[in-house]
């Protein structure tokens, strides 16, 4: 029964999602696409943290790598030709320019993930958190300083959305919904791959190493190897998200790829629900939609004389939300929902316990 309800809910959600781009305004499409892009990155963090139990403070940095690579590949120009020498070959095949950008971003961030996780996994557990912290800050410094590569503080402007399979995706009146559909498609693929990984023996190994790394090792699970895999895959999701982010906002500068946004990803996952497939979507929704609501409420409250509320920024509210969520609902909003809809357990007939000579305590 519960299964049927869940399936029905998913179908309704999917239908709504497919219809939405048609009815939403350009801004509405933008918000919808932003939510999905952030959700992809959040999925990556969810894999690293919720399933494999590691801490990554670098997801925004990986998004940045994906975004800058994609910006270069979509804009062309001499730097892109110098850096990505295969680019001219792919450019002639314009329907694939977006896909090759996504692929390049994913590959680059996957390898980068392995590179930075490898040394830190051999040592104490929490070192990965600090290394990713250092990595994010370092990346941000590079983004900000190396103007020849990233445009420095000014960033890269005018990133045009390419056409895919003949469909124009520019933000013009006729076409802005197309890009949203493209993002929906990419998100669906990403979600499916994540679902597959999590339900495969790999997913079981990730869960094991999160719950009890010692025992997992004694069962032959190569704990370090799986941690690396989880981290690399999760980081690649960040790269893919960044790759979609660049054409979405059409202009990138270093600020969204700094430390604080990375931290926000962690918070998102906690609110949404770690280790669940819906969690990243819920968390991303909170992160993208909450600021909009807060702005509205704030102006209303302040207009009514509650001036103090003008100081409660989105970050403050979000942080308090996270702190309370961890304490009272450790499995996040997704977990709460699952608990509410769980069928009541039928008590077991315990004569079977007598067969083993054990009285169930």
């Amino acid at each position: 029964m519960r299964r049927a309800l869940a399936l029905a809910a998913i179908l309704v959600a999917v239908a709504a999602l497919l219809y939405a781009p048609q009815v939403l305004s350009r801004y509405g499409n933008f918000v919808l696409a932003s939510w999905l892009v952030i959700a992809i990155a959040a999925m990556g963090v969810n894999l690293i943290m919720g399933y494999a139990g590691q801490e990554s403070l670098a997801q925004a940095g990986f998004m940045g790598i994906g975004a800058y690579i994609t910006a270069h590949m979509l804009k062309g120009g001499s730097l892109a030709f110098d850096l990505f020498w295969i680019y001219p070959v792919v450019l002639t095949w314009t329907p694939f320019s977006m896909f090759s950008a996504i692929a390049a971003s994913a590959l680059a961030t996957f390898l980068m993930g392995i590179l930075i996780a490898f040394p830190s996994l051999r040592v104490q557990k929490h070192y990965l958190a600090f290394v990713t912290l250092a990595f994010t800050v370092f990346l941000w410094l590079v983004f900000r300083n190396e103007e020849w590569l990233t445009g420095g503080v000014f960033g890269i402007q005018d990133i045009k959305r390419p056409s895919v399979f003949g469909f124009e995706m520019s933000p013009s009146r006729r076409h802005y919904a197309n890009f949203t559909y493209f993002v929906i498609a990419m998100t669906a693929i990403a979600a499916f791959v994540m679902w597959w990984i999590v339900h495969s023996p790999w997913g079981r190994a990730f869960t094991a190493l999160r719950e009890n790394a010692l025992r997992a090792e004694s069962l032959g699970i190569d704990v370090t190897g799986y941690k690396l895999l989880a981290f690399a895959i999760g980081s690649a999701y960040g790269g893919i998200a960044g790759s979609l982010y660049a054409p979405l906002v059409e202009f990138i500068d270093p600020s969204p790829f700094a430390l604080a946004p990375s931290l926000l990803f962690l918070l998102m996952i906690v609110v949404g629900g770690m280790g669940s497939l819906a969690g990243p979507f819920i968390g991303a929704a909170v992160a993208v939609v909450l600021p909009l609501f807060i702005e509205k409420w704030q102006s209303e409250l302040v207009a009514n004389g509650f001036a103090i509320f003008s100081h409660f920024s989105y970050v403050i509210i979000f942080s308090i939300l996270v702190i309370t969520t961890i304490a009272i609902a450790p499995r996040g909003l997704a977990g709460l929902f699952a608990d509410l809809t769980k069928p009541r357990r039928r008590p077991h007939s315990d004569d079977k316990g007598a067969r083993l000579g054990e009285v169930k305590s």
């Binding site: 495969s200 023996p201 079981r204 869960t207 094991a208 025992r215 090792e217 004694s218 000579g357």
Partner: protein, 267 residues
């Protein structure tokens, strides 16, 4: 009820002292100290194919340290540990597992959020094909039949889909044992399997261990405090006291050895 597959038992070839010929575990002069404390001082013994060896001794005799040295949780200061000719001294636990060595834990370490069946599949999946192949293969790595057989063998059938965290202590112990055997190991080390288990369950556990030993020919080493359990389970006993072996032999021989009696009474 047949046990899941493992290396098929060969008829044991006996040596003059009545023990099988093939040495599965060979511990030579293993020693380990912590600071000034010599927990294990140069211990040597071997375990032959199909034997069930009991490692006993009063508290502080160094049993656990020795055990952990064999298992790769601790690196011995000197000496060697060889399994079926492979030198495993100081190797990591995952490497030992891949060489066909299983173990159970004194402090229960099943995976509480996974079901009983999932726990068993987990215990066997790393031995099935390559890691990449497992990603693209079926979700259970093809191990459901083996897991079911193990569930039947240890009589956990009605709990197969329960979360392991919800099982009673004794049931978790059985699961722990079953997990150690999932990968068809040639050598299993059991760390205080009888701890905290009630009498009836203990009989059941002992009987199942005998059964799996007989059917698969796997070799066991058991650390235990429970004398009754150890004496009736094991074919051979090693007694440790103050980091050294003071007696070795059949249960009857060891039970009547004056040195052993003194070691236990003297404490």
């Amino acid at each position: 009820m047949t046990a899941p597959s493992t290396p098929s038992p060969r008829p044991a070839v006996a040596t003059p002292d009545g023990r099988p010929q093939r040495v599965v575990l060979d511990v030579r002069d293993v020693a380990k100290s912590f600071g000034g404390v010599h927990a294990v001082r140069g211990v040597s013994f071997d375990v032959r194919e199909g034997e069930i060896l009991g490692l006993i001794g009063p508290n502080g005799s160094g049993k656990s340290t020795l055990f952990n040295c064999i298992l790769g949780q601790l690196v011995p200061d000197r000496g060697s540990v060889t399994v079926d000719g492979h030198d495993v001294t100081g190797k990591r636990p995952s490497a030992l597992n891949r060489l066909g060595i299983g173990r159970t834990f004194q402090l229960l370490q099943v995976f509480p959020e996974l079901s009983v069946r999932e726990n068993l599949i987990l215990a066997g999946q790393e031995h099935k094909g390559t890691r990449l192949a497992r990603l693209f293969g079926p979700s259970d790595a093809g191990l459901t039949p083996d897991a079911n057989r193990m569930i039947d063998f240890f009589r956990l059938g009605h709990l197969a889909d329960e979360k392991a965290g919800g099982l009673s202590y004794g049931q978790q112990k059985l699961l722990d044992c079953a997990m150690a055997f999932m990968a068809g190991p040639r050598l299993v080390l059991l760390d205080e399997p009888a701890g905290g288990v009630n009498l009836t369950m203990l009989e059941n556990l002992k009987e199942r261990l005998h059964a799996i030993n007989a059917e698969t020919g796997a070799t066991f080493v058991v650390i235990e405090h429970n004398m009754e359990f150890v004496m009736s389970l094991c074919s051979r006993i090693c007694v440790l006291a103050e980091g050294e072996i003071i007696a070795e032999g059949s249960p009857a021989e060891v039970r009547s050895d004056p040195k052993v009696i003194e070691a236990y009474l003297g404490h």
